[in-house]
Symmetry: C2
Subunit: 206 residues, 2 copies
């Protein structure tokens, strides 16, 4: 039995090509890098895109604090060096996921331009989409679902992006989403349409 | 146009469930951890399984020195501490890939039992398959495609697993593959059949 079934298996010396997985998945790998202030809406936009894509039969995955900070990056703190290494590792994992054929979204504040540009530089041409979730500080601070802005204002938390630490606005992002001026659905759709225009997924009539 | 198409998009606050991706992919995520001496045949077995699965329409991905050592783990050396961190990070990436629904294979010597057991411990129950590529040292040393054993014997390379550094044999691996006693095709098939038996992929008649 083993010998009969084994006849179809050919001995290989190297990786399956990315194009073969992409043909199988009917999509092309990408890393959508969401950046913005705390409470700007990054994760909710990411999750909504993820659900919408999976409902269309496309494969998507979100990298965020939940699955990265408590896993791969649990041995990193919040020093400048560790923050840079945090972003670098996320970028490298995003590169692996894109190579695997996934539409990957990362949802991290990633306040420093240099760190984001380094991720862009390590990705293959056309795989990296920097999306600036451009929500005014006043709105983020009003949302404040975890009470972090309040703690930052009172000095209970130091080095808080937007209050006591800088956020460096992206200079040439692939997309800017102003969550104060559009519905959540429209925000998600902007990313999906970008993926269609850039030929990462085919446009699906609804 | 945007508003019309957006009506099908529902606002979400959390990750897509692993089961939804697995239903889409018609497979279940897993991490096949190949361990064994240098030149024991780990990567070639991994690549052969990867190709065979993708040809069957299943999604597989190999983590190895090519895509890990020059990327995510390029800032690690070969000290005991760095070797442990190397394996830990690969385990965490394998966990993300399994969560994403991939049949993931890792191909690293991973000589220390403690490091491998730590990866097993961080994975979800039933997701981790330790596969011992059990090739006698004499055969590995005879193959020696990169001339590394020769350099280790002459002292040109120090801390070489199997020669000047220990390899700790797995005590309870899910599978032992003796490459000296089977064809490459049979080796690959043993892993594929393990995945079928453990309900990670459905058996496909050939």
């Amino acid at each position: 039995m083993t010998q009969v079934r084994a006849t179809n298996i050919v001995w290989h010396e190297g990786h399956v090509g990315r194009d073969q997985r992409e043909a199988l998945l009917n999509q092309k790998g990408a890393l959508i890098w969401l950046t913005g202030l705390p409470s700007s809406g990054k994760s909710t936009v990411a999750f909504t895109v993820e659900h919408a894509l999976v409902e269309r039969g496309r494969l998507a995955y979100v990298l965020d604090g939940d699955n990265i900070r408590h896993g791969l990056n649990k041995n990193l703190g919040f020093s400048a060096e560790d923050r840079a290494e945090n972003i670098r590792r996320i970028g490298e994992v995003g590169k692996l996921f894109a190579d695997a054929g996934f539409i990957t979204m990362s949802s991290f504040i990633s306040p420093y331009r240099e760190d984001r540009d380094e991720v862009r530089a390590l990705m293959d041409e056309g795989d990296f989409f920097e999306v600036f979730i451009d929500t005014p500080l006043a709105i983020c601070e009003k949302r404040d679902p975890k009470g972090l802005y309040k703690k930052a204002r009172s000095g209970e938390i130091s080095n808080f992006t937007g209050i006591s630490d800088p956020y460096e606005i992206p200079e040439n992002p692939e997309l800017i989403i102003k969550t104060a001026e559009c519905t959540p659905q429209e925000a998600a759709l902007q990313i999906i349409e970008l993926l269609e225009v850039r030929d990462k997924i085919s446009a699906v009539p609804e």
